[in-house]
Structures are given as C-alpha cells and as structure tokens.
Symmetry: C2
Subunit: 333 residues, 2 copies
C-alpha cells in the first residue's frame, strides 16, 4: 500500500456535502404541480453522505480538471441515486428514510413513481448543459445511462434473489449492478469532465467499481454486526429476510456439520425468527469464519481499488479518493 | 388550408410501424435477469400505432435529412412512451393493455417500476449513439429530457385533477404536458437529426405540440362518443371518473339552467352512475353545444398545426405529416 492518506474522509465528506448543498437545491424550481416539486426535492435536499457526488468532483480534480465543471454532474448523479431510493422504498414498502416518511407514505404511490421519474429526467436536463465539449458530454452520458440500465437490472436481481440461496458470484454481480455502477459512472464522468485520457478514465472507473463492492459488503457486515442505534437497521433483519450476502454464501458452503447447517438454514429467511435465533445464526457464521471471510473480501476490494489509482498525480483529491475507499469499509453508518 | 394530403395516414402508419418493428426489437438483448428483459419488451414489442416514432422519422425526411439516422431516436421515443405507459398502468391500476395483462399484473409491482426505469435508461443509451455530430445530439437530448420532465408534471397534474373541476386552460396545460411534449420532442428531434435550422426545428416542434393537443382532445371525444367495441373503453368511464375535459369545462360554464347544471354535476364523478345517467350527461353536453365546441377546438389545433409546417418543401414526408395531423382527429381508435 503506497502513500499515507492524511485526509479524514468523514470530515472531508461533511465539507463537500455542505458545498454541494447549494447546487443540489438549485435545479428544481417552483413549477406546477407543487406536490411533485416538493416530493422530488425531499430526499436529495435532506442531505446524507453524498459520497457519489463527492467522488465525481474529486475524480475531476484528481486528473487536473476544473472541479467546478463537475458540480452539475455531481448533482445529476445524486438525483439519480435519490430517484432509485424513492422507487426502492416503494418496492420494499419502507416507511421511513432520514427521519421522514418515505415519498409513497407521504404523498402516495403515484407521486412516488412520478417523483422518481422526474428526478431521473432532471438529471439528464442538467447533464445536457455540462460546460464541456459535446463529444465529452456524450461520453459522460454513455457511462451514466449504462449505469442506470444496470441499476435496474441489479435491483431486479435483488428482488428475484429474495429468499433464495444464490452463489457468491451471483451475489457479487447483483451488488455490482445495484451499487457499484453508479459510483463508477460518477467517478468516470468526473474524470472525463476533467479531461482525462481513456486509460485514466478506465482506471478511475475500476477504482470506483471496487469501492462500490467494498462499500456494499461493509453494509452487509453492518447489517449483521453493526450498532443498530447508529445504523438504524435492526440486527437480524437481513437474516430474517434471508439476504444471501457473501457471509451467508460462505457459511452455507463451509459448515461441515449437517445438523448445524440445518439449524442455520432454518433460521435464515424465517421472518418469525427470534432475536436469540438471529444471534445464533450470527454465531454460526462467526464460527464458520464467514464474517472474517467477508471482511477480508471487502478489504481486498478496497486495496485493489486504491491500487488502480496509484498512478494519479499526488494531491488532495487523490488523497481523498484513497481515504474515501478506506472509509467505505470503516464507517459506523 | 393549402395542399391536398393524398397519403392515407392510417395505411402509412401501418407501413412505418412494420418497418420500425425490427429496430424496436433490436435493442433489448438477453441480459440477466430474464424477467426484467421480458417485461421491458412486452409493450414496445406489442405494436400499437407508433405515431411518435413515425413522426420522428418523417420530420427528419421532411427537412431533407437521411431518415435512417432518425430511426434510433424513433426507437428511443417509443421506449420512453412505453415506459410512461407501464408506470401509468400501475398508477391507474389498469389490468389489461393490448390484450395482455399489464406489467404489474403479469410481473408484480416492483418489476413494473423497474421495467419502466429500464426502458427510460435504454432510451438514453440509444440516443447517446445517434450517428450525428455531438452538438446536435446534445440538442436532441435537451428536447427529450425536458419532455420527460414535463411528462411527469403532466401526469401528476392529471392525478391531482381527479374528481376536480379545473379550468379549460389548466386542462389544456395538463394534456400538453402529458401528451404533446413527447410528440414535440420526437418531431423536433427528427428535424435536428435531419439537419434543420433552428427556425424550422421550432416550427416542427410547434406543429407536433398542436397535433398532440388535437390528438388528446379527440381521445376525450372518443371516450364519450366513440364505439366502445373499437376503442376498448367503456363509454361513461370518463364521466364516472369525473374527467374534466374541454367538453366538461364548457358544459359547466355554459349550462344556464341551474337544475340541469345540478343534474350534470350529480352524474359527473359518480362512480355508481348508471349507463342511462351517463347517456343523460352526454345529452346535456350535446344540448349545451359542448361536444361541438370541443371538436371545433381540436380542429383548430390541427389546422394550426398544419399551418406551422406550410413552408416545408413539398414531398411525401410533408404530406404524411399533414395527413397524420388530420388522422389524429379522424380515427376510430
């Protein structure tokens, strides 16, 4: 591992999130009808880590570009991320996000569908006005449009996987499509806006793909071992839902004792499992080395991500990208 | 009215719809997961009038462009139209379209949301590859992205209007956003691809906006006076839903007798209204001159549309555009 990341990613993210607040709140005007404007604003205006837009801006800077030119892309990516959150919450029947009722709870199902669609369209309106040569804009849009297509695929695979045991390979493909591709489009898009050559864009794209994988694997870990008072997710939720994470796929293929395997499978996906049973399932995975295995997998992705950008010139933006990669598997929330 | 349209729009549409069948079926490959691919294909592959894509191609030809270059845009517009249909059917709870179960009925709600999102993304993937200078592609995308934003607004206004008496102006704005803007983006996009100058693009855009208004007004007329065995819509449906069309707004402001106005308002929006009551509501609108008024309004839009493109060079494509405008208020379905 070369270089020492001196930037505190969490603090830096707070700063960039605050800097992006103005731009994020500047694109949805007071058009008719008011309930569509309000509902499309709710999620992106509410804050959050804003990792994707921060990545877009930093990747532009890391290749020597004018970071201000990547800000509209950052906003567009955040709108797209939030469009998928609105639709996901509706599909999953989730009732609360960021301390507020989800859009379908607050405004009804039709408005949730339309607020998502509207944010998606607005993202493209914003990207059409990127202040870069049109040929480069075309290239940015290629990455982003492919990402949204893949996102829908990943989300559908996630829906299809529910309650099933899939392979680690299939699970990894699912989270790549569901999570990594939008990180990757943000990063590649930022680099393209910054004027990077094809090889650099490719390296940055791969960096973000790996970060996305590590990020999601860490999310899965927090779902099992995180502090539920911080994550806001009840521990055991993923076990009851039978979410087939890398920890679960490892346990299934590694548990030697048929009785324990049977016990594990009996808890997994059982919506009525008690907290004690969920704790037992976690213990079984611990004893099978599955949690350590998944953490090593996540660490590997992050080290690999950092390796992809080793040739970028040294500087604050590169440092942040390295630090952000490590933070993605070292956060409590 | 200058020129005699010699082209039979209905026949010509059949021909162009058949020609577009191959391209429309060529962009969604056999990727994972299969249920998302199948569900996103279902509507666009099933046919339909395909007026919007036909308009895109004809507008390209009408300005002297290479029509084959507008085919990908035509496909993208049709995908966007079908994405909105999938989401609309879900919002409206409609169970059948084109003789098949709607997507949410056949595949469930999450897949209906995702199939719509996927078609939307695919449309942009297609448009990124338009074989025209990038600066022109940017201009096409501006029109299309603005249209989808407006579509969501129009759809939300439609949801909000339900069961309310709105003004004719507000209703016209609603159908403009809900229907016309996508026609207009198809037409303007085709003209841009064909190499038209700004003034011509603007004229063609306005032509299609007016055609869209006339088209929707005629749709409303068919909902009241059409042959339900052909339209597939039960006569009285719009009356029971209280749909505030231009016929209704005219009746409300024109009926002099307070007793008849009361009777009319009592039927409108009454989901339990009998067929006899719906027929009575229609009779009241007839006697108030409201149906004639709305038809005149639609005719005016179409004549105005045709007037916008009078300066285009004569030829088959211009003839089709004129004929298509007239057909949009002279069809049985």
């Amino acid at each position: 591992m070369d270089g020492i990341a001196m930037i505190d990613a969490k603090e830096y993210l707070k700063k960039t999130s605050a800097e992006l607040d103005g731009p994020i709140k500047s694109y949805i005007g007071d058009e008719e009808p008011a309930n569509l404007m309000e509902s499309s604003r709710q999620y992106p205006y509410a804050g959050g880590k804003r990792m994707r837009p921060a990545m877009a801006v930093a990747c532009c800077g890391a290749v020597g570009g004018d970071k201000s030119k990547a800000v509209p892309l950052a906003v567009a990516i955040e709108y797209i991320h939030n469009f998928t959150l609105i639709h996901d919450d509706l599909m999953d029947g989730d009732e609360v996000r960021r301390g507020m009722p989800t859009i379908h709870m607050g405004y009804g199902m039709p408005t949730a569908i339309l607020a998502g669609d509207a944010l998606f369209a607005k993202a493209y309106q914003i990207m059409c006005e990127l202040d870069i040569p049109a040929e480069r804009m075309r290239e940015v849009l290629r990455y982003v449009s492919k990402a949204v297509w893949d996102l829908a695929r990943g989300q559908q695979m996630d829906v299809n996987n529910e309650g099933k045991i899939v392979t680690e390979e299939y699970y990894t493909e699912t989270i790549k499509l569901k999570t990594s591709v939008l990180f990757a489009a943000a990063a590649a898009g930022g680099a393209i806006i910054g004027g990077a050559d094809d090889e650099t864009v490719k390296a940055i794209n791969e960096y973000a793909l790996e970060v996305g994988l590590g990020f999601q694997m860490w999310d899965d870990y927090l779902g099992i071992a995180g502090d539920s008072s911080k994550t806001g997710k009840s521990v055991g939720n993923d076990i009851r839902k039978g979410k087939c994470t890398c920890m679960v796929t490892h346990a299934i293929r590694s548990i030697q004792d048929p009785a324990i395997l049977e016990e594990f499978k009996g808890i997994l996906g059982n919506m009525d499992a008690t907290d004690e049973q969920c704790a037992r399932a976690k213990q079984i995975m611990e004893e099978a080395g599955s949690i350590e295995y998944a953490l090593d997998l996540a660490k590997g992705k992050i080290e690999s991500a950092i390796d992809r950008i080793k040739d970028l010139p040294e500087g604050e933006d590169k440092e942040f990208l390295i630090s952000l990669a490590r933070y993605s598997i070292d956060r409590e929330v």
